[in-house]
Structures are given as structure tokens and as C-alpha cells.
Amino acid sequence: SQQGEEDPQALSIQEGENATMNCSYKTSINNLQWYRQNSGRGLVHLILIRSNEREKHSGRLRVTLDTSKKSSSLLITASRAADTASYFCATEIFNAGNNRKLIWGLGTSLAVNP
């Protein structure tokens, strides 16, 4: 698999349930970021977790990072219909030069049914 692979590809849950999405990557990273994209819309940054961090929270979002397994998970608790979107992980890799290059996965399409 390539850098930044999410699973599952699609997830359908009921409102109020928790949604867990996973991301795996191959190379050492500087940080890993999760983004959300509503259909046909832009990419919205959700959370950034650095390689020396293991867990991070933001509202109903919880992100974990296991650098030994090269994997991350995004947990959305108490999901709402408005959480319906595609969720992407993007890794930032150590790179020469002062720039920001993100490598993206294909995303998980989340449907939250009312």
C-alpha cells in the first residue's frame, strides 16, 4: 500500500454512534494530519499530531498515533448527520528545504444516518 492509506474506504453508522477511521503509512513522518471534505467542497483541517505525540483531542475528535506501527486513528464520538463527509489523513515527511508537502490517502467516506 502507499503512504497514507485509510480504512475502511466507506463507513455507514447511525447518529450517536462512534466512528473510527484508520490510516497507515510507510515512511518516517514529521506529523500526520486529518482533513475533512464535504462532497465537492474544500479540504478542512481537523487536527495535526506530531510524531512525538501519541494522542490528541479536539472536541468530539480523538486522534492517536502509533509510530512503531506507522498508523493513526481518528475517532469521532457521538456522531451527527452533519459529520457525513470524506475524511483524509495526510502525512508530512521530513524533507529538505523549507516547505510543506503532504502525502494523502484515498480517504474514508463516512455516512451518518439520522
Binding site: G42, L43, A90, E92, G97, N98, I103, L106
Partner: protein, 115 residues
């Protein structure tokens, strides 16, 4: 809240035509990027730009592509002679800080359709 704005939201063009996609990054940001997303595929890095020059570009960013910051506020992506495979959503992003810190702010994207 400051945001990155992109125009046009959708452009349809004929193969071989030149296209310019425009972006207004967040005003105090110093680093600028273009990414693209072909329908159903991954978001792909195209180019990063800092201090009025390209910092890095991908293999996709060939001689047909160019970027410019003409006036201190706009950041443009030009495709000189469009091909069918250039059809994609193009996202502009900006960040305040460089490598490894802070978040990238993305615009809503410009959908390019090449016929």
C-alpha cells in the same frame, strides 16, 4: 475568520487552451501551495512556493505548469496548454510557518474540466 479564496470555482476549457487559476492566500501567510485531486483519486501535491520562488515541485508539475505571485496578494497557477488529464479539482493552500509546524489552510478549490 481569515480564509483562502479561489477563483473560478469551476472552469470549462477546450484542450490546448491556457488556463489560469487564482488564489488569494491568507494575508500574513508566507508559504503557498497547489494541490490537485482528480475525481476519485488521491489529493496530489503539485508545488510549494516561498519567498517568491518555487520550493519544491512534483513530477506532475511539468513545463506546462507555472506559478506566480504577481502582486503580493494573488497566487496563480497557469496551465499553458491543457490536456484532458488535467481535469481535476485544484486546491490552493497557505501556511504561516514552514516545515513541520502549524496547519495548512485550503481554499474551496477550482474545478477544471478539459473537453
Amino acid at each position: 475568520e481569515p480564509e483562502v479564496t479561489q477563483t473560478p470555482s469551476h472552469q470549462v476549457t477546450q484542450m490546448g487552451q491556457e488556463v489560469i487559476l487564482r488564489c488569494v492566500p491568507i494575508s500574513n501567510h508566507l508559504y503557498f501551495y497547489w494541490y490537485r485531486q482528480i475525481l476519485g483519486q488521491k489529493v496530489e501535491f503539485l508545488v510549494s512556493f516561498y519567498n517568491n520562488e518555487i520550493s519544491e515541485k512534483s513530477e506532475i508539475f511539468d513545463d506546462q505548469f507555472s506559478v506566480e505571485r504577481p502582486d503580493g496578494s494573488n497566487f496563480t497557477l497557469k496551465i499553458r496548454s491543457t490536456k484532458l488529464e488535467d481535469s481535476a479539482m485544484y486546491f490552493c493552500a497557505s501556511s504561516l510557518s514552514g516545515r513541520g509546524s502549524g496547519e495548512l489552510f485550503f481554499g474551496e478549490g477550482s474545478r477544471l474540466t478539459v473537453l
